[in-house]
Symmetry: C2
Subunit: 338 residues, 2 copies
Amino acid sequence: MKKASIQDIADRLGVSKALVSFVLNGKGKENRISDQMIKKVFEVARELNYKPNQISKWFRTGKTQTIGLIIADISNPFFGKLGREIEQEAYKSGYRIIFSSSDENPEKSERQLEMLKKSMVDGIIIAPPPGSNVQIENLRQEKIPYVLIDRYFPEIESNYVIIDNFTASYDATKYLINKKYRRIAFLTVNDELVTMNERTNGYLKAIKDAGDSYTPMVEKLPFSHKKAEVYDAIKVLSSAGDGIDAILFSSSKIGLMGMEVIAELGLRVPGDIAVVSFDDPDFFKVCYSPVTAIAQPLEDMGKKAVQLLIKEIESNEIQPKSEKVALKTKFIERKSSG
Amino acid sequence: MKKASIQDIADRLGVSKALVSFVLNGKGKENRISDQMIKKVFEVARELNYKPNQISKWFRTGKTQTIGLIIADISNPFFGKLGREIEQEAYKSGYRIIFSSSDENPEKSERQLEMLKKSMVDGIIIAPPPGSNVQIENLRQEKIPYVLIDRYFPEIESNYVIIDNFTASYDATKYLINKKYRRIAFLTVNDELVTMNERTNGYLKAIKDAGDSYTPMVEKLPFSHKKAEVYDAIKVLSSAGDGIDAILFSSSKIGLMGMEVIAELGLRVPGDIAVVSFDDPDFFKVCYSPVTAIAQPLEDMGKKAVQLLIKEIESNEIQPKSEKVALKTKFIERKSSG
DNA sequence: TATTTTTGCTAAACCGGTTAAGCAAGCTTT
DNA sequence: AAAGCTTGCTTAACCGGTTTAGCAAAAATA
């Protein structure tokens, strides 16, 4: 027994399928269908267990009520939480989420964007990996609704939702300075994303503002995210000159590896090295030394991104708006910087 | 300028759209289209920047090359990693993933199943929450291809991919016994899922096999996953009778909360309490006492689930098969059970 | 030369809805 | 009594592809 279509209902009642369509879309009244007929249509629809075929609806309207999401890696707690918020907010407005992980690789994100375009998503939320500028510029020119999240490209007019990275980084460094740490290092990844640059700049500014007795010490890791690289970086920092007494990690992924490495080196936290890290995954609380964190407002970020996107999808304006949202972070002091 | 359709190409060349469709689907030869014409069609297609409208293709074929995924929570590292593997494996076969999080709530999963059915996904991978038996039975009767993951219902013939929970739990308990721990507690959630029952049974059997000097101590938490409940449970266990010297946690979520609570109670691990936990999230390695873990083969689970599902989607058999896959876990010894 | 086969292409149905336009019958107005 | 309005419905185009059946002309065969 196949699925019932509108035609089946129409045949059963000896009416046209237009009538059935009107009734089932609640437009019976405005199309002057009689009350008895409306009742009968609903009866037969239930009887035949009628379920509308969404695809044909999409086909007609060109809309799929689906949003594509590209993030670095859904199994990374930062993106997992963000994805969760995005899913929830989208669901409220009747949108579904197709997700894919780019691993910060522009070739992957390009393939995934192609895939999403073919999938006829109504819009895209993307944390653009370094080197994906052209892809985003294309999105803009193709007038596909999109919102950037966590990063943006200053040269491309876009909707985006980020945090105020400069201030967050500046304040965290300032905090360590006030705590009387003197040799404060900053461990980050070597990429051309504004997000990370801003964090570096915030750190550098705070060190500079603190006076001549402070030396900026920045280590940029390759983007590969290997633990061995973190190991080497920390080794280099610890042994050079007067060594270090505090580290600011620019992401939870680096922070996690950093905490592992520090433990392996037999150093105590905060005794030998104080630690502050961007992001606040659950495990920072149960780390051997609970990690002081710069927590991002993931709920707000996710919600805002979805709201911006849906606004753009559902607006009929020719010129896409570009709203820029920068949210505040929350500083959570724990033992690691004690 | 709108998007070019097959008709536009046909018009430009003064041929029928059937011809264009044949050529673009690589069926030119078998439909005896001349070589020059094939060449011309491709030329014009490029010229007009033709992109096929997927929706109409779906509409015709009734397939969307999309898989629906329902797990408890994508921001939980266990499901995040699993989701990642599923995404990757599906992508290889040209399938997309729509995901949603049920929070172990059967009402939510029911709504999400409805949503996915309406979304015309070709099949569904689901970690069914407790109480969702009827929903799964419906899936079966509606002949929608699906694969259960992480749990299953013995009474419903289904494809599923799980781990050998009984053995994993038995072996872990045995390990603690061999390590000379005497008062070994098992902390789990109160639900009717086989997965958790098997873990309990494995624990109980090991305790029983160990002889009369061992007492089974099982605490079942409500499913709400509140930290306060974990706190109470551990308090109760520690203060009753001779107290406890080891805990086996039945999931990483409980394990994480357990480690927090133990720290808050000022107990040392493994000095006061040894700990072993199911699952192996990244942070177990950097916990204040790195946690001995029962790691699940998430990569194999994800891959297998996708393979089973796609096999079922793409087979034309009337009677769906039900393949049952139980994978082995990997025991990773760390300091917490030293 | 008459018939069959091959070649190269077209026509049109089809998937399942949505929606603008229109029509006949009955009722109201002038 | 003619004209207009209302009611309750139908017709058919449309979205953009896929696919079956078939046709005319050219080539091959009897």
